[in-house]
């Protein structure tokens, strides 16, 4: 009798394991296919310009400093164009060079810094201005222009200053 009980519970357990494994393999499949379709490579402007790999069509994420005088906006067609200059990709490197504000300022004013032309189909964000940090996702077209699908902007904020400038 004992044996039959353990047999039942064994086949019961196998059913759970089989269904569980099926479920997990479905999830693993979803993760792999989503990663192949949507994962983005984070690259700096310099890496984009200097790589020998053909990047056209790849999902990329690029960060750079916005050149103020390069901003052109065609509001009729909602087409935004601007150029970004290379900044280091890692926060730690930016800190080591004296912080984001300084790095952005130098990036924009250094003519030897690699640059990348960007096109974006959509609204012009409020924060798009000279020396802002742009984080773009999209891909390169054949001419090496970055076609951005998503546009994130960061400005070194004056709110982060610890001490007031003036006091009465």
């Amino acid at each position: 009798m004992n044996e039959s009980v353990s047999k039942v519970s064994k086949s019961n357990r196998i059913k759970f394991i089989v269904v569980g494994l099926l479920f997990l393999s479905a999830i693993i499949f979803l993760v792999i296919s989503a990663t192949q379709a949507t994962a983005q490579f984070f690259m700096t402007v310099r890496e984009v310009q200097e790589t020998t790999k053909d990047l056209s069509g790849e999902n990329l994420r690029v960060s750079g400093a916005v050149l103020g005088e390069s901003i052109r906006y065609d509001s009729e067609n909602g087409l935004l164009q601007f150029t970004i200059a290379h900044i280091p990709g890692k926060d730690r490197e930016i800190e080591a060079l004296g912080g984001l504000e300084l790095v952005l300022h130098q990036a924009v004013n250094d003519p030897l810094n690699p640059r990348l032309e960007v096109r974006y189909d959509g609204a012009k964000p409020d924060m798009l201005k000279d020396e802002a940090q742009a984080i773009l996702t999209g891909s390169l077209d054949q001419e090496g222009v970055f076609i951005a699908e998503e546009l994130l902007l960061k400005c070194p904020s004056r709110y982060e200053e610890a001490l007031p400038e003036q006091a009465e």
């Binding site: 999830i27 979803l30 296919s33 379709a37 983005q40 690259m43 909602g78 926060d91 609204a123």
Partner: protein, 672 residues
Amino acid sequence: MLSTLGYLALALAFLLAIYGVVMVLWGVSQKSKPAIESARLALILLFTLVSFSLIALLIFLVTDRFDIAYVYSVTSRDMPAYLKMTALWGGQSGSLLFWSWLLAGFSLVFALRKWDNEKEMLPWSLLVVFVSLGFFLALNVLFESPFERFWHMPDGQRFLSVFQPAGAWPLTPEDGQGLNPLLRHPGMIWHPPTLYLGFVGFVIPFALAIASLGSGRRDQRWLEIARPWTLTAWIFLSLGLVLGMRWAYDVLGWGGYWGWDPVEIAALMPWLSGTALVHTALLQRRNDSLTRWNLVLIIITFSLVIFGTFLTRSGVLSSVHSFADSNVGLPMFIFTALVTLGSLGLLFSRWQKFDDPEVFEFALSKEVLTLLLNLILMSILVICLLGVIYPIISDLFTGTQVTVGPAWYERITGPLFLLLLFLTGICPLAAWSGKQLTRFGKSFWLFGLFSLAIPFGAWLIGDVHHGLTLIALWLAGLAGILIVSEYFQSVIRVRTRQHEKWANAFWLPIKRHHRKYGGLLVHLGVVLMSLGIIGLEGLQKETQVTLAQGESVALADYQFRYEGLESRIGEDGISITQAILTVSHDGTLIEALYPQRDVYLNMGLAVTQPAVRSNLARDLYAILVEYDPDLQNTATFRIYINPLVNWLWIGVGVMTLGTLVAVIPERKKKSI
């Protein structure tokens, strides 16, 4: 003077937390009841002290004491008094104080309950509570004090300190920096405290779980005492998440509500494991199964809460949510690791004692569906975790950072959320094992077929052709019908079998089984919320267009006509430019929309304010993208039609109501 007192009160509260820890440990080792009692009573004093600090800070905020660095950084003279008060949680140190205060309040209410039937659990519960309090108060006292003031020396040197340095003079700025205008929205004002209530609330179930493990009491008592706390924490966490969505929807102006930002995910993860816990607790109550798994779930949930606060407060992640620059990162990381490893270690040391009977039979029963629910929720949790650390792993192994975005999360979790929606409807109806076939009878298949009318209708009338959207609509419809019919069946049963009046028939089932019907109501809320999400994800229509004055554009069945621009200088130096868009539906004028752009002249900051007109069927949502300030005759708009969105907010209301019904304490106690 008051600021020094506020700081000293906090320091004293911190010492009391240490006193509590010492007394509990000593009391346990010496078997001294008075020591434990003394620790318990110390909580009253501790809460009073933290409350004193909190009130002191509130007074500073309201009375514009800009010599206090915290007040200077989060308020300004032009802010109304209520906003100044809510600035309490507008910055790092203030929100930490608020957090500690909530934690002290919860701990006090919890500790003062009657412990007659579970005396052995009290010391362990107190230990957890005091350690957590000690940690957060230490952060407040040692690293992030909200009572630091500005000082300057005769030589012009300026610095921050709580106490007056020798020879220094207080420095009082004329005005504060003020609250970022993007954050001046009810959703954003109530989002942090609601979330904190949820986060902090989980400390009590966690304390009870540790008490159960520590004292070796294997029964379900901890779950039963924890139940109202778990449900309350869970609903506050849910509300906090939805308030954040509402803010994003109303203010950020991208027509969305959830961006899979790492910090959003950090708040979603404890919600996922907490949701799993709410359900598996039912199984343990039913047949004493999953004892270990429930302990694992509460440990995971509380660890994720601490991990989430670590992510937001340490500045590891840069995101709209984080507090910039912080010195609490390392201590928070260490605490997170200690909590997780310590409690898992305790669990493994008691692993044999807390064994589970093997009771699950493979069938379409409530038990097995709940296990499936757990599998889905935990899978989503692991996927979230994977997404957050993906850039770090890929950088380590391949040298290139690979990041994953919203599209990645949506592709993977989309089908899983659909499966959850399906379970939302059938799980409450499934019977406990052994009886499943009697309940899943003809009616289930009937409802299944019947609800197909919804996707068919959407396809034929609403012109919806997207497969996943149609499936989602079908599942939502099926779940809704199943839940509502379950309730009406019991109403009719009471009416016909017990010959009650109709009014009683509607009320009695809920009164008699408030836990069950509260739960059903929560599920109905989830179904309603899913409608809003389906509307935004699957049915949204959008266009961007530049119009000259008098021109119009059509989107779906609506025509939007641009009538003109109005500019004015508002209060507090805000320059407001407003466009007027009239909306017609099938030729009749129905609405006017006023999307606007506010420029905060004194801050040099522009904010786009979307115009939203909503009813139960859809939201009309317009953003003024750009305008020509000289000619006033062209403006660019982005216009969205978001069907069903309102049900997202209504659904969370229904969910809250359901939770309330479920946690109402029973009047008559059945057990001793």
